[in-house]
Protein backbone atom coordinates (compact mmCIF):
# COMPACT_ATOMS: atom_id res chain seq x y z
CA UNK A 1 0.00 0.00 0.00
CA UNK A 2 1.18 3.48 -0.74
CA UNK A 3 0.20 5.28 2.44
CA UNK A 4 2.50 6.11 5.30
CA UNK A 5 2.00 4.03 8.46
CA UNK A 6 -0.25 5.72 10.96
CA UNK A 7 -0.24 4.84 14.62
CA UNK A 8 -3.10 2.41 15.29
CA UNK A 9 -4.72 3.95 18.34
CA UNK A 10 -8.29 4.91 19.07
CA UNK A 11 -7.62 8.64 19.40
CA UNK A 12 -10.52 10.57 17.97
CA UNK A 13 -8.15 12.16 15.42
CA UNK A 14 -6.94 8.77 14.33
CA UNK A 15 -10.25 7.06 13.62
CA UNK A 16 -12.81 7.31 10.87
CA UNK A 17 -16.47 6.59 11.55
CA UNK A 18 -17.63 3.95 9.07
CA UNK A 19 -21.01 3.05 10.56
CA UNK A 20 -22.99 5.50 12.71
CA UNK A 21 -24.92 4.28 15.77
CA UNK A 22 -28.36 4.12 14.04
CA UNK A 23 -26.89 2.00 11.24
CA UNK A 24 -25.22 -0.38 13.68
CA UNK A 25 -28.41 -0.70 15.75
CA UNK A 26 -30.32 -1.40 12.51
CA UNK A 27 -27.79 -4.01 11.40
CA UNK A 28 -27.82 -5.95 14.66
CA UNK A 29 -31.61 -5.84 15.12
CA UNK A 30 -31.95 -7.07 11.53
CA UNK A 31 -29.36 -9.81 12.16
CA UNK A 32 -31.21 -10.94 15.31
CA UNK A 33 -34.56 -10.92 13.52
CA UNK A 34 -33.20 -12.89 10.55
CA UNK A 35 -31.56 -15.51 12.80
CA UNK A 36 -34.77 -15.88 14.85
CA UNK A 37 -36.78 -16.18 11.62
CA UNK A 38 -34.45 -18.83 10.19
CA UNK A 39 -34.36 -20.77 13.47
CA UNK A 40 -38.13 -20.74 13.89
CA UNK A 41 -38.55 -21.71 10.23
CA UNK A 42 -36.05 -24.54 9.91
CA UNK A 43 -35.55 -26.05 13.39
CA UNK A 44 -39.11 -27.47 13.50
CA UNK A 45 -38.48 -29.01 10.06
CA UNK A 46 -35.26 -30.53 11.42
CA UNK A 47 -37.31 -32.23 14.14
CA UNK A 48 -37.08 -29.75 17.03
CA UNK A 49 -40.74 -29.23 17.79
CA UNK A 50 -41.82 -26.05 19.60
CA UNK A 51 -44.57 -23.43 19.14
CA UNK A 52 -42.75 -21.44 16.47
CA UNK A 53 -45.52 -19.56 14.67
CA UNK A 54 -45.96 -16.67 17.13
CA UNK A 55 -42.23 -16.00 17.47
CA UNK A 56 -41.86 -16.25 13.68
CA UNK A 57 -44.54 -13.74 12.74
CA UNK A 58 -43.51 -11.26 15.46
CA UNK A 59 -39.86 -11.42 14.29
CA UNK A 60 -41.11 -10.97 10.72
CA UNK A 61 -43.09 -7.87 11.63
CA UNK A 62 -40.05 -6.45 13.48
CA UNK A 63 -37.90 -7.13 10.39
CA UNK A 64 -40.47 -5.42 8.17
CA UNK A 65 -40.60 -2.32 10.41
CA UNK A 66 -36.83 -1.88 10.67
CA UNK A 67 -36.37 -2.44 6.92
CA UNK A 68 -38.89 0.34 6.26
CA UNK A 69 -37.03 2.60 8.72
CA UNK A 70 -33.74 1.74 6.98
CA UNK A 71 -35.15 2.48 3.51
CA UNK A 72 -36.49 5.87 4.65
CA UNK A 73 -33.22 6.71 6.40
CA UNK A 74 -31.16 5.60 3.39
CA UNK A 75 -33.27 7.59 0.92
CA UNK A 76 -33.39 10.80 2.95
CA UNK A 77 -30.41 11.04 5.29
CA UNK A 78 -27.71 8.73 4.02
CA UNK A 79 -25.33 9.04 1.08
CA UNK A 80 -27.22 6.98 -1.51
CA UNK A 81 -24.47 7.48 -4.08
CA UNK A 82 -22.06 5.40 -2.00
CA UNK A 83 -24.22 2.33 -2.74
CA UNK A 84 -24.77 3.00 -6.45
CA UNK A 85 -22.96 0.76 -8.90
CA UNK A 86 -21.21 2.90 -11.50
CA UNK A 87 -18.56 2.82 -14.18
CA UNK A 88 -15.78 3.15 -11.59
CA UNK A 89 -16.99 -0.11 -9.99
CA UNK A 90 -16.83 -1.85 -13.36
CA UNK A 91 -13.33 -0.48 -13.89
CA UNK A 92 -12.25 -1.67 -10.42
CA UNK A 93 -13.75 -5.10 -11.13
CA UNK A 94 -11.80 -5.36 -14.40
CA UNK A 95 -8.59 -4.36 -12.59
CA UNK A 96 -9.26 -6.85 -9.79
CA UNK A 97 -10.02 -9.62 -12.30
CA UNK A 98 -6.72 -9.04 -14.13
CA UNK A 99 -4.81 -8.88 -10.85
CA UNK A 100 -6.39 -12.09 -9.55
CA UNK A 101 -5.60 -13.87 -12.85
CA UNK A 102 -2.07 -12.40 -12.67
CA UNK A 103 -2.38 -10.86 -16.12
CA UNK A 104 -1.61 -7.49 -14.55
CA UNK A 105 0.83 -6.58 -11.80
CA UNK A 106 -1.06 -3.41 -11.01
CA UNK A 107 -3.20 -3.75 -7.92
CA UNK A 108 -6.82 -2.63 -8.39
CA UNK A 109 -7.62 0.92 -7.36
CA UNK A 110 -9.06 1.32 -3.93
CA UNK A 111 -12.86 1.69 -3.85
CA UNK A 112 -14.96 4.34 -2.16
CA UNK A 113 -16.80 3.48 1.04
CA UNK A 114 -18.13 0.19 -0.32
CA UNK A 115 -16.38 -2.14 -2.81
CA UNK A 116 -18.39 -3.66 -5.65
CA UNK A 117 -18.83 -7.07 -4.03
CA UNK A 118 -20.26 -5.52 -0.86
CA UNK A 119 -22.70 -3.50 -2.97
CA UNK A 120 -23.73 -6.58 -4.94
CA UNK A 121 -24.20 -8.56 -1.72
CA UNK A 122 -26.29 -5.75 -0.20
CA UNK A 123 -28.52 -5.36 -3.26
CA UNK A 124 -28.94 -9.13 -3.66
CA UNK A 125 -29.90 -9.84 -0.07
CA UNK A 126 -32.05 -6.69 0.03
CA UNK A 127 -34.09 -7.99 -2.91
CA UNK A 128 -34.47 -11.41 -1.27
CA UNK A 129 -35.44 -9.94 2.13
CA UNK A 130 -38.02 -7.68 0.45
CA UNK A 131 -39.46 -10.75 -1.29
CA UNK A 132 -39.60 -12.53 2.09
CA UNK A 133 -41.34 -9.57 3.70
CA UNK A 134 -43.88 -9.31 0.86
CA UNK A 135 -44.73 -13.01 0.84
CA UNK A 136 -44.55 -13.29 4.64
CA UNK A 137 -46.82 -10.25 4.96
CA UNK A 138 -49.43 -11.99 2.83
CA UNK A 139 -49.07 -15.16 4.89
CA UNK A 140 -50.02 -13.20 8.04
CA UNK A 141 -53.57 -13.45 6.68
CA UNK A 142 -53.50 -17.17 7.47
CA UNK A 143 -52.94 -16.81 11.22
CA UNK A 144 -54.93 -15.35 14.09
CA UNK A 145 -53.23 -12.53 15.97
CA UNK A 146 -54.42 -10.02 18.56
CA UNK A 147 -54.86 -7.56 15.68
CA UNK A 148 -56.81 -9.54 13.06
CA UNK A 149 -58.68 -12.78 12.38
CA UNK A 150 -57.31 -15.26 9.92
CA UNK A 151 -58.70 -15.31 6.40
CA UNK A 152 -57.06 -18.15 4.48
CA UNK A 153 -59.61 -17.78 1.66
CA UNK A 154 -58.29 -14.34 0.74
CA UNK A 155 -56.39 -16.03 -2.10
CA UNK A 156 -56.89 -19.26 -4.02
CA UNK A 157 -55.06 -22.41 -2.93
CA UNK A 158 -52.99 -22.26 -6.12
CA UNK A 159 -51.90 -18.67 -5.43
CA UNK A 160 -51.02 -19.57 -1.84
CA UNK A 161 -48.86 -22.38 -3.24
CA UNK A 162 -46.86 -19.98 -5.39
CA UNK A 163 -46.45 -17.60 -2.44
CA UNK A 164 -45.12 -20.44 -0.28
CA UNK A 165 -42.72 -21.51 -3.03
CA UNK A 166 -41.29 -17.98 -3.26
CA UNK A 167 -41.09 -17.64 0.55
CA UNK A 168 -39.37 -21.02 0.95
CA UNK A 169 -36.80 -20.39 -1.80
CA UNK A 170 -36.04 -16.90 -0.49
CA UNK A 171 -35.60 -18.24 3.06
CA UNK A 172 -33.15 -20.92 1.87
CA UNK A 173 -31.24 -18.31 -0.15
CA UNK A 174 -30.98 -16.07 2.93
CA UNK A 175 -29.59 -18.99 4.93
CA UNK A 176 -26.88 -19.58 2.30
CA UNK A 177 -26.05 -15.87 2.02
CA UNK A 178 -25.90 -15.54 5.83
CA UNK A 179 -23.37 -18.39 5.99
CA UNK A 180 -21.20 -16.62 3.40
CA UNK A 181 -21.64 -13.28 5.21
CA UNK A 182 -20.48 -14.74 8.55
CA UNK A 183 -17.56 -16.47 6.80
CA UNK A 184 -16.28 -13.17 5.44
CA UNK A 185 -16.99 -11.38 8.75
CA UNK A 186 -14.63 -13.73 10.63
CA UNK A 187 -11.85 -13.88 8.02
CA UNK A 188 -8.72 -12.35 9.61
CA UNK A 189 -8.20 -9.74 6.88
CA UNK A 190 -11.82 -8.60 7.18
CA UNK A 191 -12.01 -8.23 10.98
CA UNK A 192 -11.49 -4.47 10.74
CA UNK A 193 -14.79 -4.25 8.83
CA UNK A 194 -16.54 -6.44 11.41
CA UNK A 195 -15.13 -4.26 14.20
CA UNK A 196 -16.53 -1.20 12.45
CA UNK A 197 -20.00 -2.78 12.50
CA UNK A 198 -19.63 -3.30 16.27
CA UNK A 199 -17.75 -0.19 17.39
CA UNK A 200 -18.39 2.06 14.41
CA UNK A 201 -14.85 3.09 13.53
CA UNK A 202 -11.86 2.13 11.45
CA UNK A 203 -8.37 3.54 11.86
CA UNK A 204 -7.02 6.14 9.46
CA UNK A 205 -4.47 3.55 8.40
CA UNK A 206 -7.27 1.16 7.44
CA UNK A 207 -9.11 4.00 5.73
CA UNK A 208 -6.09 4.91 3.60
CA UNK A 209 -5.14 1.29 2.92
CA UNK A 210 -8.59 0.16 1.80
CA UNK A 211 -10.48 3.19 0.52
CA UNK A 212 -9.98 5.92 -2.05
CA UNK A 213 -10.17 9.19 -0.04
CA UNK A 214 -11.44 10.98 -3.14
CA UNK A 215 -14.29 8.51 -3.60
CA UNK A 216 -15.14 8.37 0.11
CA UNK A 217 -14.62 11.81 1.56
CA UNK A 218 -14.91 11.62 5.34
CA UNK A 219 -16.74 14.43 7.09
CA UNK A 220 -13.68 16.07 8.61
CA UNK A 221 -12.12 16.24 5.14
CA UNK A 222 -15.17 17.83 3.50
CA UNK A 223 -14.33 21.18 5.06
CA UNK A 224 -10.88 21.19 3.47
Amino acid sequence: MNSQPIQDTKDSDNIVIRHKIPDRIYHWIMATAVIVLLATAFLPIAGLKFPWVTVHWIAGVILCVIVIVHIVRALIWQDRASMNIGLSDIKHAQQAFKWVLRTSKQQPNRPGKYPLLQKLYHHGIAAIVLLLIATGGLMLAKIDTPFWQRNPYMLSAETWGYIYVLHDLAAMAVLALLMIHIYFAIRPEKLWITRSMILGWITRQEYHDNHDPEAWVIETDKSK
Partner: protein, 55 residues
Protein backbone atom coordinates in the same frame (compact mmCIF):
# COMPACT_ATOMS: atom_id res chain seq x y z
CA UNK B 1 -29.18 -42.64 -6.93
CA UNK B 2 -30.31 -39.59 -4.95
CA UNK B 3 -33.57 -38.06 -6.12
CA UNK B 4 -34.74 -34.70 -4.88
CA UNK B 5 -38.37 -33.66 -5.02
CA UNK B 6 -38.67 -30.00 -5.89
CA UNK B 7 -42.13 -29.30 -4.49
CA UNK B 8 -44.32 -30.28 -1.54
CA UNK B 9 -47.72 -31.27 -2.87
CA UNK B 10 -50.83 -32.50 -1.07
CA UNK B 11 -53.79 -34.35 -2.52
CA UNK B 12 -57.36 -33.78 -1.40
CA UNK B 13 -60.13 -36.37 -1.14
CA UNK B 14 -60.84 -36.04 -4.88
CA UNK B 15 -57.21 -36.58 -5.84
CA UNK B 16 -56.62 -32.95 -6.78
CA UNK B 17 -53.08 -31.77 -6.15
CA UNK B 18 -52.35 -28.60 -4.21
CA UNK B 19 -48.96 -26.90 -4.17
CA UNK B 20 -47.70 -26.44 -0.59
CA UNK B 21 -44.21 -25.05 -1.21
CA UNK B 22 -40.75 -26.28 -2.18
CA UNK B 23 -39.32 -29.51 -0.85
CA UNK B 24 -37.36 -29.13 2.38
CA UNK B 25 -34.69 -31.38 0.84
CA UNK B 26 -33.67 -28.36 -1.26
CA UNK B 27 -32.24 -26.71 1.84
CA UNK B 28 -29.24 -29.02 1.51
CA UNK B 29 -28.66 -27.71 -2.01
CA UNK B 30 -28.44 -24.15 -0.67
CA UNK B 31 -26.31 -25.13 2.34
CA UNK B 32 -24.07 -27.22 0.07
CA UNK B 33 -23.65 -24.32 -2.36
CA UNK B 34 -22.66 -21.99 0.49
CA UNK B 35 -20.19 -24.52 1.96
CA UNK B 36 -18.72 -25.15 -1.51
CA UNK B 37 -18.29 -21.41 -2.09
CA UNK B 38 -16.56 -21.02 1.28
CA UNK B 39 -14.25 -23.99 0.71
CA UNK B 40 -13.29 -22.80 -2.79
CA UNK B 41 -12.59 -19.33 -1.42
CA UNK B 42 -10.46 -20.68 1.45
CA UNK B 43 -8.42 -22.80 -0.98
CA UNK B 44 -8.09 -19.91 -3.41
CA UNK B 45 -6.92 -17.49 -0.70
CA UNK B 46 -4.58 -20.09 0.77
CA UNK B 47 -2.91 -21.30 -2.41
CA UNK B 48 -3.55 -19.04 -5.37
CA UNK B 49 -4.51 -15.48 -4.41
CA UNK B 50 -1.82 -12.93 -5.22
CA UNK B 51 -0.43 -11.35 -2.08
CA UNK B 52 -0.52 -7.56 -1.85
CA UNK B 53 3.25 -7.57 -1.47
CA UNK B 54 3.61 -9.37 -4.83
CA UNK B 55 3.94 -6.22 -6.87
Amino acid sequence: MISVEFFRISKNAWGQETLLGVSWDLIWVFIGAAVLFILVHIIYKWLFAPKKSEV
